[in-house]
Amino acid sequence: MRSILTALAASTIMSGAAFADGHALSGDLRIISDMSNPAPRAVMEGLAAQFGEMHPDLNIELEIVDRDGWKSQIRNALSSNPPDIVNWYAANRMTPYVNAGLFEDVSDVWEEIEGLDSVKGALTIDDKQWGVPYTYYNWGIYYREDIFNELGLEEPETFEQEIANCQAILDSGRKCYAIGTKFLWTAGGWFDYINMRTNGFDFHMELARGEVEWTDERVREAFANWRKLIDMGAFIDDHQNYSWQEALPFVVNGDATAYLIGNFAVAPMREAGLTDEQIDFYQFPTIADVPQGEDAPIDTFHIASGAQNKEAAREFLKFVTSAEVQTDINGGDKLGQLPVNAASSVDDDEFLNQGFEMLTTNATGGIAQFFDRDFPAEMAAAGMEGLQEFMVFPDNLEDILARLEQTRQRVYAE
């Protein structure tokens, strides 16, 4: 693995040389990255090494911090002794830091790079760009192909088929969906899809922007659709006790046949011993006749406004978004996700291909960033808690919606 990395690094240096535009970069470049899982970590270390070789006078200090821990550390990191470059997420998750002036306006970098138009919107606040994407991934239903074959099931396209499939799965003594809601956000994925399919992408975004009441009849309709699955017993029991990783064994052992999750779940499934013949992927089925919206969260790099070496940092942003680097780091043996640059190529991987095709051809409704990135932080926190409660006690819906509506009125008024 190491040797492949260095070989690839060497090959990219050739092409990457074009980016060192005349003047050499020097000084220190401090990067704090949240790419702490094994594969992303290797990618980040590889990126830093590559960039360092391109700019021999530049001293790169890379610090990799725990991905979940970073979510609460970023505030302090940006306020006191800020590094030059940090990892974060697109869309509304940037807003607090943009408003507080902690992220650098990098619109000038965007003018110099090409091929990122499709993701520009997610990095734009007030007509300016505040960071660059480096990867994104699709969501969808990952399922056990072998069990579907055993039961004679087809990939469903409509919600009725989905329910019929689920009934067959339940009759065979399995659960339809694995999910672990201990950390809440996984429930947000289900709501995103059910709501986008029931009421359409635009309505979902209106809800995210606080323009629709949570007690609206259309929201209730989405919950009613969700409830059909809950009442069937489609989800694994006691999911409130598990993290998303702890719920994976249900799929691996065949106790549950499908998992609505991001493409990042493929790697651990493969590691747990499932072959590509055993797992497959389908797009969340349609409910109402609305253009399909999809969740495809974007992960990003940003420059801190208090950075010391902004020149080098800007070069680094151009470097990571270039087509070659994008092709390389998103490959199946690295991040295994989708490149953000239109000129780069998607690795020939069953899931990447399907996901990429789905997002480019069949996501006409629009691309959402995910519940906790589209909704403002506080609304997201209260919302996901309500969603978890709904999944355990669907009868509490009225109470939950009233609470969320109360939160909405306060959050968006501020």
């Binding site: 979510k71 607090p96 201990k182 506080e378 808690e385």
Partner: protein, 316 residues
């Protein structure tokens, strides 16, 4: 000194020959020794308390300067607390913790009495009983969450033997808090036990002898002779247990992360969620919660200080 006459009168200057410090040594030295402690205590405890009071009057997301980026809203945060159901749940949970955690004191006393005998290997038994206090709270939390696991957990295996259905303690909003408190009692009981074991060493054997001659036995002996002599140990056990109950953050974080749907939060955890965690951008609101927690603690602190002051005065 600075106003000393140009020509000093030698005989009057006699006592002044010592330096200023030397003359005031007795008064100054204690303060010099206290100075580092006072400075750090002020910087890390006292001043932050007052800062929390200040922050609690603002709407502020923790980014940028408080007075510039923040918005002064007076008692707005406190008004919102009064109608916030999650706050109410956290407060009630805090009270549950305070009350039920006190069970550690009688439990600890009971085990201490039981272990306070001389049989072979008693040191080993004592260390085994003390063990849970030595291991980290995080480990305790993990062990108990596995113990409670709905499908594979030991608890369900055991109650399954007597025909009781599986329970999901940590997944049930009505039971989860009690489940966590039970986990917390395990190390806390060990702590109280060790306090009582040391206390029992100091019990005066002559008094026991005298009581025995007077016919005191069993409960009467315990209640009238032993326990009064254990009063200092009881006081310390009470203090550490109350403090332990109020800082019950780590177990909650490990075992349920405040869930299911916020039913196991206590005030400290709620404050963390609102002000510092992933989606926490409400420093002012968090500070208001902290102030409420501080008032609760102040009540106990005042009581502890008063007891100690009373004891010291009595000792003089």
């Amino acid at each position: 000194m600075t106003n000393a006459p140009a020509v000093p009168t030698t005989h009057a200057a006699q006592p002044d020959r010592r330096s200023w410090y030397k003359r005031n040594e007795i008064a100054i030295t204690p303060w010099l020794f206290l100075l580092p402690g006072i400075l750090f205590f002020a910087a890390y405890v006292v001043i932050p308390i007052f800062q929390s009071f200040q922050v609690s009057f603002y709407r502020w997301d923790g980014l940028g300067d408080l007075t510039e980026q923040g918005q002064f809203i007076g008692l707005g945060n406190y008004q919102e607390l009064a109608t916030d159901r999650n706050f109410e749940i956290s407060l009630v949970n805090n009270i549950k913790w305070l009350l039920l955690y006190l069970l550690a004191i009688p439990l600890g006393l009971f085990i201490a009495l039981f272990l306070n005998q001389t049989v072979t290997g008693i040191r080993l038994y004592k260390s085994l009983f003390f063990f849970p206090f030595v291991i980290s709270q995080v480990v305790v939390g993990l062990v108990f969450s596995w113990f409670y696991l709905p499908s594979e957990g030991l608890l369900n295996a055991v109650i399954g033997l007597v025909g009781l259905g599986p329970v999901n303690i940590l997944g049930d909003p009505d039971m989860a808090t009690y489940g966590i408190i039970a986990a917390g009692l395990w190390p806390q009981t060990a702590y109280c036990m060790i306090l009582y074991l040391t206390g029992l060493n100091a019990v005066d054997p002559e008094q026991i002898e005298a009581a025995r001659l007077d016919g005191a036995k069993k409960w009467k002996m315990l209640w009238y002779i032993i326990i009064p002599q254990l009063k200092p140990a009881t006081f310390i056990a009470f203090v550490v247990t109350i403090i332990g109950a109020l800082r019950s953050f780590d177990l909650i974080s490990i075992m349920t992360n405040g869930g299911p749907f916020g039913s196991t939060r206590v005030l400290s955890f709620y404050m963390y969620e609102k002000a510092l965690a992933e989606f926490g951008f409400r420093m002012g609101y968090g500070a208001a919660i902290a102030v409420v927690l501080f008032v609760i603690m102040l009540f106990f602190i005042a009581y502890f200080l008063y007891s100690m002051w009373r004891d010291e005065r009595g000792a003089r």
